[in-house]
């Protein structure tokens, strides 16, 4: 496949061009989401779309996929100017979108999901033999071996994603939009995905690839377009774009690579876990964390990291082992007890277990700490509550139109800051953070990291960071604990750690 030329040197000729977006704008009440966006996609190209949260990537994607209507500008598909009216219309035009949260029906089988709405029923009766045949053919294209009758909810995220891609292909899509496709995949699963994307490229299908993982983008994309504040900043060839340049385009200024000075962890021991065991899940896990320290828990999917957090926090029962908080043995049998002991847990999925989406920023922040705003025995001092919450909103720089706005309207990074504010207000001394920067843009990540360091070094708290982002782990930790299949296999001080060493432990090859 010949390398695609620079966008400035040659205008794509009509038949090479799958999609052309010219001067597209979109206004929402009070805000200009997109202004004069230019973007194009060629046949057999992987074109990455980058930008911080709020830059407009998702809005542009929704316009292309038919979920929103543009206010101004032109969209051309295969040289023809079109008005994309509905998602169904987009589908008919050959555009398929694979969202971060799949449009799949958990209780139905793989085959049924693949052809949802296209079962080919005669007088309402479905020919399952034919359905299975078509489904098998679709899955073969993405090399997925799975029993067609398995219910979707019994499959892993990686498998579900492959099914989404198979579905897109079965719709004879020429343009596939992928939104953060690797965010829930292991490295090996990501490699499979990239191989599939290469195969799509060979078939002449154009892929719009949205991701925050810049190293990945450089690896898979042909061209890169960066959006900022609703405008196109520029389009570059991926091999000509280096990471600092991309970041500069995304945030508009140099972002210093934060280099954390390692402080000698001479603080008091805050948490000690001895021989933590949960039958079938965790085996004899022991470690400790001191004040002022950031300790990371690294491992591949299924290693048991989140399970350790849940066991410590009292969410899951334990079959053996002891937990000590500030040197005292404790029995944490419920999250309420964990909170009383000064622990805080920022869960992996904000949406399902971190925040009450319909509640305001204020109410989410104060939830564990409501008791302290009591007047007398029954009533709450709402004014004091608002002021306290506002204090955290400013201190953590949480962007929200007002503290009474429901958190569901905030961006991912700001939502995460609300979760953090919640635990800071609760006075947690030990924070367990499970994938705190997942799904957050570059600037948001940097802010969460800054707050994490501030919490450990300045406030003398302790952080247990669970992350599958190895660069993040190496950059932030004082010590790295590596887990493999439910066991703690290594404890590596930061100065001796390297990507290779950690991965060797994590894959059990050492």
């Amino acid at each position: 496949m010949a390398p695609s030329p620079d966008v400035t040197s040659r205008e794509g000729s009509g038949d090479q061009e799958l999609l052309k977006v010219r001067g597209v704008s979109k206004r929402f009440p009070g805000v200009m989401a997109l202004q004069g966006i230019d973007f194009d996609l060629r046949k057999g190209e992987v074109h990455a779309l980058l930008g911080e949260n709020g830059a407009g990537k998702s809005t542009l994607m929704k316009i292309i996929s038919g979920a929103y209507r543009k206010d101004e500008g032109e969209i051309r598909i295969g040289g023809q100017s079109v008005e994309i009216l509905t998602p169904r219309h987009a589908q008919d035009l050959g555009i398929a979108t694979i969202y971060q949260h799949f449009n799949q029906v958990p209780h139905l089988s793989v085959a049924e999901n693949l052809f949802l709405g296209r079962e080919g029923a005669r007088f309402g009766f479905i020919d399952y033999g034919d359905l299975f045949r078509r489904a098998r053919a679709a899955l073969d294209r993405v090399r997925l071996q799975v029993d067609l009758r398995t219910r979707i909810r019994d499959l892993s995220i990686a498998q579900r994603q492959m099914i989404e891609i198979a579905k897109a292909l079965s719709l004879r899509s020429r343009i596939i939009i992928m939104d953060e496709p690797t965010s829930a995949l292991t490295d090996r699963e990501s490699d499979t995905l990239f191989a599939i994307i290469e195969a799509l490229r060979d078939d002449g299908i154009g892929t719009i690839y949205i991701s925050h993982r810049l190293e990945e983008v450089k690896r898979i994309a042909d061209r890169v377009t960066v959006l900022r504040d609703g405008k196109t900043v520029g389009t570059l060839r991926a091999d000509k774009a280096d990471v600092p340049t991309i970041i500069r385009m995304m945030v508009g200024r140099e972002v210093q690579a934060t280099c954390i000075g390692r402080c000698a962890a001479d603080g008091d021991e805050l948490l000690r876990v001895e021989s933590l065991t949960r039958r079938g899940v965790l085996h004899d896990v022991s470690f400790s964390a001191k004040r002022g320290e950031i300790v990371s828990l690294f491992g591949l999917m299924g290693a048991g990291r989140t399970e350790v957090a849940r066991a410590i926090f009292g969410v899951d029962p334990i079959d053996g082992g002891k937990v000590y908080v500030a040197g005292r043995p404790v029995r944490i049998s419920s999250p309420a007890e964990a909170v009383r002991q000064g622990l805080g847990f920022l869960t992996e999925d904000r949406l399902t277990s971190g925040l009450a989406m319909s509640l305001s920023v204020t109410h989410n922040i104060t939830l564990p700490s409501l008791a302290r705003f009591r007047i007398g025995k029954w009533l709450l001092n709402l004014k004091a509550e608002r002021e306290a919450a506002s204090g955290y909103v400013s201190a953590l720089d949480i962007h929200t139109p007002s503290p009474d706005h429901a958190v569901q309207h905030l961006s991912g990074g700001n939502q995460q800051k609300v979760v953090l504010a919640k635990w800071l207000m609760a006075g947690s001394a030990m924070l367990i953070m499970d994938e705190p920067t997942q799904g957050i843009d570059v600037r948001g990540k940097a802010e969460v990291h800054r707050l994490m360091i501030d919490f450990a070094r300045t406030k003398r708290g302790s952080v247990l960071l669970i992350s599958s982002d190895l660069p993040e782990v190496l950059r932030m930790s004082d010590r790295i604990l590596v887990m493999h299949e439910g066991r703690l296999v290594a404890e590596v001080p930061a100065e001796h750690a390297s990507q290779e060493l950690i991965m060797e432990y994590a894959t059990g090859s050492r």
Partner: protein, 333 residues
Amino acid sequence: MVPHRESQQPPGRTLRDRTRQAGVSVFANQTAFMLALLVGMLLIFSQFSPYLLTRENLFQITIQAAVICMLGAGQTFVILTAGIDLGVGSVLALVTVVAAMVMEATGSLLPGLLAGLAVGAACGLINGFVVGKMKVPAFVATLGMMGVARGLALIVTKGIPQYNLAPGAEFLGQGRLFGIPAPTLSVFVVFAVCYVILTRTTLGRYTYAVGSNPQATHLSGINTSRHLVWVYTISGITAALAGLTELSLLGSGQPAGGAGYELDSIASVVLGGTSLLGGEGHILGTLIGGLIIASLRNGLNLLNIYAFWQQVAIGAILVLAVFADQLRRASRR
């Protein structure tokens, strides 16, 4: 999209901002819309009947609404937690007959009232335990209570209505204080208390939190299962208050009474803008919802419309009102 910092807010706070400041806003759009609907409905009916907007008739509407509104108050708590209480009609019946029988046995009012309250609270407590601790889905648990309470009411009375009430029993339903009917005052008090609980106490806040996201609330250190016990107990208590009012209004304890009241209470809650999915809603909306239903009945009565058409009207209004709310929500996105 440019992130909007607080410091960039325009200087004057709008009425919307100020009402939002109350932590839980007093008037959601849905509630304001329903209030407008209520007033509009009354005005329209008044064109056909000069009697409708008189003070006496308006009092009458509140008396007719009282029982359902009180049931609705407790139901609001339950629905806010994404649950439902189908048993309140039967519990009401059980409360009326037990209160009546205790009054007859002791010859005095107070023991009867206390017995009624105790029965209501006990039923609520049981519901709460079954839903909160045993983790039985609310629909099923309260459906079971619906049958059990009704059965008990019929058993203890052998199916016979209880007429021998204690002296003074008719006050709660038929008496007046400063010219205002007792039921009207009771409803006011019940809703005032519930409003304070929901907006200004941890109990109220946790109710919204549990409904919005039980998992996140649990992980924030709140004992969500114990909280649910409280919520259903509150529903039981309001069912008792409603029952005592009904007892007083009818002058008798009817073991077969209260049938269908649970659906009216749910309708009031939904009309008032509370989402059946939990986490969003306003107690005052329930009051308006109950008044809408009662006004509709009252208005149609005054117009001499065939009584059964009232059922049709209420069903239709419920669907249309919620549909209008869906449109409003969709246009906001």
